[in-house]
Amino acid sequence: MSKSNIKYFISLVLLNISLSVLWGAVGCSLNDPDRDVIRIFPASTNYKTEYISINSQGGEEMQREIEARLGDVFDEKFEKTDVEYSYYTILKGSEIIGRIHGLNQRGRFGGMQLILATDLEGRIVDFYYQKISSPEADKFKAIEFTNQFLGISLQDFYENAQDSTKTRLAQIKDPSQENRQDFEYTLRGIKKNLIQLDFFFLNRIHDKYFNPEKEN
């Protein structure tokens, strides 16, 4: 076998290895944190990364509390409590100016990676799909759709569960024609992401808007 053949084969093997490395990322980290942080928070000077799992914060009891607020139960297979989520705390000098946090959410045609950037009160300042598999992916990724989430916080989600006619959230329309499930999965993923942020970093400041009887 010539050297070129071997190189070709090894290239394939290397490609496969890099793919396996790719699959290794589970907790939805940013693909390129250095660039993503500066793009979302241009005033930032540094950032700190923390990996937090539900297990490390309260385990099953916390899972039940999150499920109650989410109005849905976790998927046993894919939403395990030992999954570590990446939280990027954004700094300007020594001052914290925001956070970036991602979450893997099951979609209709594959896993979605929903990335939120929030201010210190938990309001969304940026939202984008790091990954989405859908025939209508472009419509979901369009800023005309994603920008509608700017300024929304967990309060909107809790209030929407009580009266879905008047909230800002109710104004956001499904951008797709045939994939309403992906729109609903998106809303679920964003809500879960904000609940976890509220639990892990904001001392549950939004709990006062939560009405357990109204969640469905």
Binding site: M1, S2, S4, N5, I6, K7, Y8, F9, I10, S11, L12, V13, L14, L15, N16, I17, S18, L19, S20, L22, W23, G24, A25, V26, N31, D32, D75, K77, F78, N104, Q105, R106, G107, R108, F109, G110, G111, Q113, Y129, Q130, K131, I132, S133, S134, P135, A137, K141
Partner: protein, 389 residues
């Protein structure tokens, strides 16, 4: 035994100096053990990886070599394809035990990264009997719009049986009918579909990227390769050769690390000699008195030699412990720098290796102790006692 006790007490008298010397020996032994452990572990992991591919020979389309980066940039566009009739010509060869055709392609994932799709036939599992189902079953027909997903791919895509999967660019939606158990190979990240379906939806009719072959008798490999040489459009890759080539690829890294280990051992030898020699010079009068009250040259030689051996043995034990404890850290480090790292543990430290390193440390002590012990044993008692005046 008494001399051993005295030797130990002498070492304990200068604790910091002795500890530093033991540390030096320990570092040298740790590097050596890690290196030898890596040699053994890497070969085992590579053998395991290649064996898990299931075939001994891979037939691919002839063409220029492609760098992995090119393949990635082109999203699989750089892959070479061959006509499927090559398979029809080869499959009748009596020397073949098992054979399977494959069509691989790569698609970009949103936000960066790639997914590998592999078109396969039933014969694929004959070559890979460990590819068992975690859930679900095989495709319902050779042209079904169905996929079987590798374990890791299913986790990432959050797919289960009955779910749909969308393949970018093709606009095709396929149904998940099976999920493979984890195999610890690259297959865990692959999405498999029937070969004919793959040829159709990727618009590669009657095309293949590879044919995996297992021969009845591995001894026939050379003749088999020679016969296929006449097929103009293909090339034959023996996995045994691939193993050898990958081992050659890492040999330069091994030479570098071996050089570091040899230097570390040399520094350790010098350090031990220096420490013991200093100890001998500091105790010149003491040695003189010992000789004056009846100690022979041989006993003095033994005493100093024992001190060296104790230091080196302790260093050897400590170094072996360092290597055992730090194996995963070393593995993480080497995996980042190697051109190719197989799955599994790359460092295998066996009991025999620990024993070998301990014997090596003792031998180092025996060697390093000769000169200081000779200096001490050949001292004249009167001159030694007077040297302190």
């Amino acid at each position: 035994m008494r001399l051993l006790k005295i030797a130990y007490k002498n070492i304990a008298r200068k604790k910091i100096r002795s500890l530093l010397t033991i540390g030096g020996v320990a570092m040298a032994v740790a590097v050596l053990v890690s290196l030898l452990g890596f040699n053994a572990g890497y070969k085992m992991a590579l053998n395991n990886d290649v064996d898990k591919m299931g075939y001994q020979v891979l037939v691919t389309a002839k063409g220029c070599p492609y760098e992995a980066a090119t393949l990635m940039l082109k999203g699989g566009g750089g892959l070479r394809y061959m006509d499927a009739d090559v398979y029809d010509r080869i499959v009748t060869d009596d020397r073949i035990d098992k054979i399977t055709p494959q069509l691989a392609t790569v698609k970009t994932i949103e936000g960066g990264g790639f997914t590998m799709y592999m078109g396969i036939e039933d014969s694929y599992t004959e070559l890979k009997p460990w590819a068992t189902f975690k859930e679900g079953k095989w495709f319902t027909s050779p042209e079904a719009l169905e996929v079987i997903i590798g374990y890791e791919a299913a986790e990432l895509e959050q797919r289960t049986i009955g779910d749909q999967i969308f393949i970018p660019d093709t606009r095709e939606i396929l149904t998940v009918v099976g999920i493979f158990e984890r195999t610890g190979t690259q297959d865990d990240g692959v999405i498999f579909l029937p070969l004919k379906t793959a040829q159709k939806i990727f618009d590669l009719p009657d095309q293949l990227t590879g044919i995996g072959i297992k021969l009845k008798d591995l001894g026939q490999l050379s003749a088999f390769e020679e016969d296929l040489y006449d097929e103009g459009s293909i090339q034959v890759i023996s996995l045994a050769q691939v193993k050898g080539t990958i081992l050659n690829l890492i040999s330069s890294a091994q030479i570098l690390v071996t050089s570091v280990a040899i230097i570390a051992i040399f520094v350790a030898i010098v350090g031990v000699i220096n420490t013991i020699l200093m100890s001998v010079f500091e105790r010149t009068q003491e040695i003189g008195v010992m000789k004056a009250i009846g100690a022979g040259n041989r006993q003095i030689f033994q005493l100093i030699w024992y001190e060296t051996i104790i230091i080196c043995t302790m260093g050897g034990l400590l170094g072996s412990l360092f290597a055992l404890a730090g194996g995963s850290g070393v593995e993480y480090f080497v995996k980042r720098f190697l051109p190719f790292a197989p799955e599994g543990n790359l460092i295998y430290i066996s009991p025999q290796l620990i024993l070998f390193s301990l014997l090596g440390a003792i031998a180092l002590g025996l060697f390093s102790g000769i000169y200081p012990a000779l200096r001490a044993s050949l001292m004249k008692p009167i001159e030694a006692i007077r040297s302190g005046e």
